[in-house]
């Protein structure tokens, strides 16, 4: 099933500027992007692996 891009927000201390700011988080099947609204510092994550339950665990 294709995953629609999620757009989330998180208030946290920025790793770069250190201020308590809002971070925009975009998630899709392949990437996660996090961007500080204040200083623009961004972190990018790429898909690594998937761990699926056994079929009998899913109704």
């Amino acid at each position: 099933m294709a995953v629609k891009k999620w757009k989330l927000k998180k208030g946290a201390n920025c790793y770069n500027c250190g201020d308590a700011t809002i971070h925009d988080i975009e998630v899709d099947e392949f990437d996660i992007k996090i961007r500080c609204r204040d200083c623009g510092f961004s972190r990018y994550y790429s898909f690594h692996m998937v761990d699926l339950p056994r079929k009998c665990d899913v109704d």
């Binding site: 099933m1 294709a2 995953v3 629609k4 999620w6 989330l8 998180k10 946290a12 201390n13 790793y15 770069n16 250190g18 988080i25 998630v27 099947e29 990437d31 996660i32 996090i34 961007r35 500080c36 200083c39 623009g40 510092f41 961004s42 972190r43 990018y44 994550y45 790429s46 898909f47 690594h48 692996m49 998937v50 761990d51 699926l52 339950p53 665990d57 899913v58 109704d59």
Partner: protein, 150 residues
């Protein structure tokens, strides 16, 4: 731990200890000195684990039910205690601690298709997204950073 995490806790701590139930020491008569008391504990007490977590009140019933299912057949005690105040001092660790984020989004799972809460945990080097219904998880690794936004 899996049952607690699935039920919605975000943190916990564990204490290992030795304990005795009243029925275990019933009938014992020991000398009133520390050596005898410690000796009794070493010889007769059983290993036990105390798991503590602070959770939202509305999640309590779900967590208790989940733990009871996971520990079916085991001996355990559940204590539910209201918290009146919490004071946390992060000291110098605040910046590091702030780097593990927990988020939730309720959408259809990519694997089971059920509309359920998807938990997202992000730290400085990796991220994990998992379905609270089926457990299917996706893992991401840091690819890079960019100082200035586009």
């Amino acid at each position: 731990m899996n049952a607690l995490a699935d039920a919605g806790i975000t943190g916990f701590y564990i204490l290992e200890y030795k304990g005795m139930s009243p029925q275990d020491w019933k009938g014992f008569s020991i000398k009133e000195d520390p050596k005898s008391a410690i000796g009794l504990i070493k010889d007769y007490a059983t290993d036990a684990v105390l798991v503590c977590s602070v959770v939202d009140e509305e999640k309590t019933d779900e967590i208790v039910e989940s733990v009871m299912q996971a520990l079916e057949g085991e001996k355990y005690t559940i204590l539910e205690v209201p918290i009146r105040r919490i004071i946390v001092s992060h000291s110098d660790y605040e910046k590091e601690r702030a780097e593990t984020w927990l988020l939730e989004k309720e959408v259809p799972c990519f694997y089971c298709g059920e509309n359920s809460v998807q938990r997202i945990r992000i730290d400085t080097s990796k991220a994990k997204i998992w379905c609270t219904n089926c457990g299917a998880a996706r893992y991401y690794l840091i690819k890079g950073v960019e100082k200035e936004g586009r």
